[in-house]
């Protein structure tokens, strides 16, 4: 069991290593100037040299991402319940949601500055807007996928709406909800960075943008790598929580996991 985990992790590391090695060789063979595209060795060196700068700027982005994700989850859940249980809500809001989703938030970002001011708030709003659509869709789908016969049966036993929702529908929808959380957390990272590109004096998006205009391409990629690492860590946190919640559910409810 342990051996399988170890070989799997080593394999995943090997994929990254192969990618970086290929990159390192490619820029050397093609004589690409480091200020255009630096080799990974220079990028890692820059990351080590500026590690406290990168770390200090990771926190603001982390706050913006988790804040945006939390808002998206709460808002998405509420709207999803409305969609799942009211045909009227579903039909009225669906087209609007889709239109709002495909709208490029980057275009609205200057307006957000005017409405929400500077600092963390506009970043959280943009992150939430980008992340909430998959949560709404999947949660609504999950809630709506419970077999109607089962609900009718519970009704006939005298169960209240609340009992049915919390004991049947919600646990049933959890795999769908967590699937959407995986997507939403990565979108929240994108959203927070978009907010930082528009206006910020801190965060990894700021680091990337500032290094770009200063022609410090190695630091810029350092910021990009740090951002990727942040996204991966947050994704893994979601997966971990998902495992914990769903396995608890198996223990208590006996409902099969859908993985």
């Amino acid at each position: 069991m342990i051996a399988r985990h170890v070989t799997r992790t080593l394999g995943q590391i090997a994929v990254f290593a192969a990618f970086f090695l290929f990159w390192e060789i490619l820029v050397d063979v093609l004589h690409v100037k480091p200020v255009i595209l630096p080799p990974p060795s220079l990028i890692f060196a820059a990351m080590v040299k500026h590690w406290s700068y990168l770390l200090a700027n990771t926190w603001p982005t982390l706050f913006a991402v988790t804040g945006g994700f939390a808002v998206a989850a709460a808002l998405g859940f509420v709207i999803a319940v409305g969609i799942a249980y009211s045909r009227w809500v579903s039909e009225m809001t669906y087209p609007f949601l889709v239109a709002a989703q495909v709208l490029p938030k980057v275009a609205l970002a200057p307006l957000f500055l005017i409405w929400f001011g500077f600092g963390l708030t506009p970043k959280v709003v943009i992150a939430a807007l980008i992340a909430f659509f998959p949560i709404v869709i999947n949660t609504a789908r999950g809630l709506g996928s419970v077999e109607p016969e089962l609900i009718q049966y519970m009704h006939s036993l005298g169960a209240s709406w609340r009992e049915i929702f919390f004991k049947i529908s919600l646990p049933w929808a959890l795999p769908y909800i967590f699937a959407s959380f995986r997507i939403a957390i990565t979108l929240a990272v994108v959203g927070a960075v978009v907010g930082e590109f528009i206006s910020s004096d801190n965060g990894l998006g700021y680091v990337i943008n500032y290094a770009n205009t200063s022609l410090d391409t190695d630091v810029m990629f350092g910021g990009i790598f740090a951002l990727s690492a942040l996204g991966v860590v947050l994704f893994l946190v979601v997966v971990l929580v998902e495992r914990m919640v769903l396995s608890w559910q198996v223990a208590v409810e006996g409902t099969p996991e859908t993985m």
Binding site: K33, P34, V35, I36, A109, P110, L111, L113, I114, G117, F118, F197, I198, S199, S200, D201, Y206, N209, Y210, N212, T213, S214, L215
Partner: protein
Amino acid sequence: MNMRRLFIAALGLVLMSGPALALDKVTLRLDWVFGSEHAPIFLARDKGFFKDEGIDVEILAGEGSTVTVKLVGNGTADFGYAAADQALMAYAKGLPVVATAVILQKNPVAVIFPSASGIKTLTDLYGKTLGVPTLSVSEKQWRYVEKLNKLDEAKIHQVSLGTGIAQMIEAQKVDAAVAFFFNDGLKVVSDGTPMGWILLSDVGLPIYSTSLVTNEDMIKKNPDLVRRFTRAFLKGWTYALGHQQETLDTFLKDNPTVDPKYSALKFPEVLKLTQTPDTEKNGIGYSSQERWEAMQKALLDMAIIDKGVNVADVFSNQFLK
């Protein structure tokens, strides 16, 4: 006629028509989207100045001087129109970008503010909200100016701005901002609010601005092309100075979607930046070793570059005539 004579006649025709068709096709990447600050360039193309020098130029819009110097330094674009300090930064980082003509002699970054605010000097900013473009090199230039003028940073409420500077001023979310006076500043004027500005170059920042740049390899391999291009380019600016309305009209015709009111406000201000005592004596596009050295020293002081280069490698006045 026998076949041999026919053949020789045909050969002669081909040889004679050869040079007339062989225009040098080159790309010119600008610093930003097309605006009236580029009007003299469009004029030079439309009036045939480039064709007269045997050049067929393709004018491409840009996304900032930073990208343009990267493209020129990488050889992806033949010529560029980009800020001189970015060219120097690029050279210091290993991109062989050379300026063959410095068009805008003064950096247009300024502290802009509504005229009604009563701001006259930098210390009038105390107690006010100032938008600073933290995502660009302009922010470092502002910090340098603060240092040179011994400003007390704590007395000014500074917030970070990226895009939408004009909107922020119009929405009165900031009292003033550090921005390109002829872009964001005049945009606000065009929308109806009179603006004032303090140019950072007037309070101690010795930075040359947008220049014609090319790659060092291009100069080595084809100096004649660089000379012809620079000559045609400068002819456009010289003509524009003497025929402002015609130049503006040509630009608006080429770019019908651009706001004509804003363009008309911008154009004369941009032309003013091309004239200094240096250029009056030596011609438009001239730059001096002293000012390039001063600019490099400022960049070193601002920690924008950490190692100096031989500035004589980064600019040249030899293509001005």
